[in-house]
């Protein structure tokens, strides 16, 4: 197969910057596509070429299949990297690229199709012997059917969008009284996020951990796993902290889950980077949740502990090359990732938009920053308000966490409100240090996690002092 010459990145922000970095290293040209609000963004300036898609919101730009294909043809790109989100799991897009002779850096469309549907994927992997959560995935969407099925499964149950992802369209339903409103709310969110309001029900696992396995397949039929990631710390089903290796994770359990992950990949003849997500119960029982047929936000922790470049592997597999290694490589040390968002924890974590007046991170060897913004960038209402991912490595878990706390306290974002202080509190808790957290931890401890450190009066005193100093009254010098 001919080597890829020019990659168009059908995405924006930090992941676009990330893909450009690897493509440059491999001597491959890059094309950025952008919407109107993103015309001056870092990823647009970093690429070799940039092509305007027009439009402001995602639907009229990054999600518009015709416009993206038109950009590929106009710029002569012979491959597309979709990043994550947007068109990364859109089979229609993958097929259209194929029809135009453009390679999709990702799995074959049949794998995306098989795993993109939560209902279909559950049935498929269960057939190959992978355990799945007890639930209802039938075709009927009648409220009376949901009621019967929920009674059979036993409360609490989880309503989930069939086409879901990123925690959208999910509702915990505790009792028969909550069923109808919970399902209607999940359906509304699902329709708005995915244009598909089908819902499935699953047994709600109490105090679960979320452990996932990075897998990789090539066109020769090889599939290996690249260890696990623990993504238990979540807020409203959105991951907040991710790490590898998973803490307090017996090696016997790890090998069982890894085997199941590879089986799930084989069930769809998987090619490229994928992630098999599991829910892990308190007594070691685990169930298949879903498989993400793309690179994931948290892939850097795997890269930090294996020394691999997963985007490079994706590109090589897409070119028809075999996996560079056919056995799981050893892991070195421990890596933790946190996602810094422009959001206001005190206002229910509502996105906080506006200009970033100042952005700076500490510089050190054991720290990796994946960011799509710089000082002067705008956080707009149109897209995900992520500022950066901060990934820290340590020889062991304690060292990595200690370094992460230091790095967070030295990170400065002036402008929009951020979750920085919330993250510092979270990774400083005794429970996190001991690796004793479940996916409910944040919700259960939100009040303590949102407490302020500095006394309010001291903040105002400092403000008064510095305002007066700006008017040539310099009280601490003179």
């Amino acid at each position: 197969m001919k080597p890829i010459q020019k990659i168009l990145i059908a995405n924006r922000g930090e992941i676009a910057v990330r893909v450009i970095r690897t493509a440059k290293k491999m001597g491959i040209k890059t094309v950025a596509v952008y919407s109107d609000p993103d015309s001056q963004s870092l990823f647009v300036l970093s690429a070799d070429e940039a092509y305007p898609l027009g439009g402001t919101d995602a639907r009229s730009s990054y999600l518009n299949v015709e416009k993206v294909i038109e950009a590929c043809l106009a710029t002569g790109a012979d491959a597309v990297h979709p990043g994550y989100g947007f068109l990364s799991e859109n089979t229609d897009f993958a097929k259209k690229l194929e029809q135009n002779g453009i390679r999709f850096i990702g799995p074959k469309s049949h794998s995306i199709e098989a795993m993109g549907d939560k209902i279909g994927s559950r049935i498929l992997v269960a057939k190959s012997g992978v355990p799945v959560v007890p639930g209802y995935e039938g075709h009927s969407q009648e409220m009376s059917v949901f009621k019967n099925e929920a009674d059979k499964i036993g409360y609490p149950v989880m309503a989930k969008a069939s086409a879901g992802g990123g925690g959208k369209g999910m509702r915990r339903i505790n009792s028969p009284e909550e069923l109808e409103s919970g399902i209607l709310s999940a359906k509304r969110e699902a329709m708005s996020a995915f244009g598909d309001d089908r819902i499935l029900l699953e047994k709600y696992i109490v105090n679960p951990r979320h452990v996932e396995f990075q897998i990789f397949g090539d066109t020769q039929g090889n599939i290996i796993h690249l260890h696990e990631r623990d993504c238990s710390l979540q807020r409203r089903h959105q991951k907040v902290v991710e790490e590898t290796p998973a803490p307090n994770f017996p090696s016997s359990l790890k090998s069982k889950m890894a085997e199941a992950a590879v089986l799930a990949g084989k069930a769809v003849q998987y090619e490229g980077a994928g992630t098999v997500e599991f829910i892990l119960g308190e007594s070691g029982e685990f169930y298949f949740l879903e498989m993400n047929t793309r690179l994931q936000v948290e892939h850097p922790v795997t890269e930090m502990t294996t020394g691999l470049d997963l985007v490079e592997w994706q590109i090589r597999v897409c070119q028809g090359e075999p996996l560079p290694i056919l056995q799981t490589p050893p892991q070195k040390g421990h890596a933790v990732e946190v996602r810094i968002y422009a959001e206001d924890p005190k206002e229910g974590f509502l996105p906080s938009i506006g200009k970033i007046h100042h952005l700076s991170f500490p510089t050190r060897e054991d720290l990796r920053i994946d960011s799509g913004v710089v000082t002067g960038s705008e956080i707009t209402m149109y897209y995900d308000p992520m500022i950066a991912k901060l990934i820290v490595w340590g020889e062991d878990r304690e060292t990595a966490i200690q370094r992460l706390i230091e790095c967070l306290s030295e990170t400065i974002v002036f402008g929009p409100k951020t979750n920085l202080q919330f993250l510092q509190k979270l990774v400083s808790t005794k429970e996190f240090f001991q690796g004793k957290v479940s996916t409910h931890y944040i919700a259960d401890h939100e009040v303590e996690l949102l407490k302020e450190n500095t006394k309010e009066e001291l903040k105002f005193a400092l403000a008064g002092l510095f305002f007066s100093s700006k008017q040539n009254v310099d009280p601490w010098i003179t």
Binding site: K168, I353, F467
Partner: protein, 169 residues
Amino acid sequence: MDFLFETKSKPTSVHVSGNRIRVRLENQTYTIDTDSLIEGLKPKDQNLVTVQMKDGSLLKFLKIRNEIFFHWKGESWNVKLAERSYEVAGQTSPEIKSPMPGKVVQISTSVGSEHGLGETLLILEAMKMENAIKAPYPCSVEEIRKQQGELVQQDEVLLILHRIEVEKT
């Protein structure tokens, strides 16, 4: 020198005189001696003014128009200089404004309904996530300005509330 800063509820006044700062917050007054707090200025770091504090920590700040952003001991915050007239403004607004641009997906109340603190009044969808707008105090609903499905901008008034005073026994 006197300053007035914006806060969520009431403005806070700060008086600076020599090395003493007096802060009036709510009904209490705090006095801080700057000599015990600040060591001196350090060279600028990436455009941020850097102050060496007595306890060894560094305080960094940036001033943009009437707003100052601070970073100290791992924490960031900002303050805005307020207009003097804010001092006499009402304590709790009856207007519930949209905290950000979005779409009203559900109205969970009706005109005349009474609600306790924290009860959901309306659900606003922003960034494809649903956000509950809750009662900030015990109230009855006087007016609903928006309809289900309507798009709203930041700070647009969604509801007008009437505060229910708790009866003193």
